[in-house]
């Protein structure tokens, strides 16, 4: 599969926080979830990829082209949704659009209006009057009206109610079904990604901890419960996290198969993405 974005050895020192050798790639046709706790470096990574934060070293290539050398051309193919929106709140939706639209060489007004109608957004209202959910939909309308190939979203679901979040997931799947080449989507709410992501990338303290297909993660990891008797020096090695009580143990393994072979009488349950994320972060 083609790589639509390849990040190599990205470093950025921001004093109190730094990105340390961040490398990953996005595959064509995939929705990639970028997970991590608050402050793990998700927003900084995204901003660095987009050139809003200047990198100290490393390379960023979209569709095989260097971002630094082809910034304007490449940004024409990217749709952006930021958590905070970064909108001029005092402008109306129509005014804000009239600023953003001319930036893109392939902006299509009819597509934008279709989204505005579909989302029931009031063109002549000020952005400051919009609810969080409407604001996110407006950001998506702006991001998808110029035939973007790749959609980059920073925490689009934070602060949204479950209904709007599931609507957003539908929008993403529609985008991918209608010729979108990829979605890169950061979130600390992993249940959203559980439903739609194809690949998951986990970042913690400015480092990439994990980059794997979602289904492979769910297949290889397991929540194991059982009596403490089952634990010995060898089997302990199989666990990322292990919690022992007077009554038994509970732990997350990244080699479910080995646990099944080496440990008898244990209960193996399917973990959630959140279980897996916490397992790696706490380690």
């Amino acid at each position: 599969m083609n790589k639509i974005l390849e990040v190599k050895g990205l470093k950025k020192d921001l004093g109190t926080f730094s990105l340390q050798d961040v490398s990953f790639s996005l595959l064509e046709g995939c929705i990639t979830g970028f997970i991590g706790l608050n402050g793990a470096g998700k927003t900084t990574t995204i901003k660095t990829i987009l050139g809003l934060v200047l990198k100290d070293s490393g390379s960023i290539e979209f569709f095989g082209k260097d971002m630094n050398l082809n910034e304007r051309e490449l940004k024409n193919h990217i749709g952006i949704v930021f958590d905070e929106g970064y909108f001029y709140e005092e402008l109306t939706l129509a005014e804000m659009k009239s600023i953003i639209a001319p930036a893109y060489s392939n902006w299509e007004e009819s597509v934008f209006h279709k989204y505005m109608e579909h989302f029931r957004l009031p063109l002549n209202q000020k952005i400051s009057t919009l609810s969080k959910g409407m604001r996110m939909k407006y950001a998506i309308a702006l991001a998808l009206s110029h035939h973007a190939d790749i959609l980059i979203m920073d925490e689009p679901t934070s602060g949204l109610d479950p209904l709007v979040r599931s609507e957003l997931m539908e929008i993403l799947l529609d985008f991918m079904g209608n010729g979108g080449k990829g979605v890169f989507f950061s979130s600390h709410i992993t249940s959203d990604l559980e439903k739609v992501a194809d690949v998951l990338i986990l970042i913690d303290k400015g480092r990439i901890i994990l980059s794997e297909e979602k289904d492979v993660l769910l297949d290889t990891h397991g929540l194991v419960k059982g009596e403490k008797m089952a634990l010995n020096d060898q089997t302990r090695e199989l666990f990322l996290t292990l919690r022992e009580t007077n009554y038994g143990f509970e732990g997350l393994t990244n080699s479910k198969h080995a646990v099944r072979q080496q440990m008898n009488n244990v209960l193996i349950e399917k973990p959630t993405i959140e279980d897996i994320m916490l397992g790696y972060v706490r380690r």
């Binding site: 991918m176 992501a197 349950e269 399917k270």
Partner: protein, 127 residues
């Protein structure tokens, strides 16, 4: 065609999907030449990754069950009788192995098991 993914099953997600599509082809639920859903559509419906459905289709294709035409999609392959028979035979073997395993763990003897099989055949003839 029904596909049910079990969260408690030992076999990986792609394996489960693959086996169920294979079954659908073997039982004739999916007809020869029929268009299969796209990788993305199947992934969306099953809530699994496109990488998983892609792997399923890739393996089904390499095993000769489906063919993929670029830009058109994946189709159930022209029935390859030998392949199907072989596959069905294999399935019987698998099921029998399961039955044998269960029998062993319950201490059922070879004679008993064979007579159970005989009973099934008799019932089948009576119907």
């Amino acid at each position: 065609m029904k596909i049910i993914i079990s969260n408690t099953s030992d076999s990986p997600i792609y394996q489960q999907i693959k086996e169920q599509i294979k079954d659908a082809i073997l039982y004739g639920e999916l007809k020869e030449g029929e268009l299969l859903p796209s990788i993305r559509a199947l992934a969306n419906d099953l809530r699994v990754s496109v990488l998983t459905t892609r792997r399923v289709y890739d393996e089904l294709e390499s095993e000769g069950f489906i063919t993929t035409k670029a830009g058109k999609g994946s189709f159930v392959a022209k029935e390859n009788l030998e392949l199907l028979l072989e596959s069905r035979r294999h399935m019987v073997e698998v099921k029998l192995t399961e039955a044998w395993n269960a029998a062993c763990s319950l201490g059922i003897s070879k004679e008993e098991l064979i007579s159970m099989m005989g009973l099934l055949f008799e019932e089948g003839e009576n119907e």
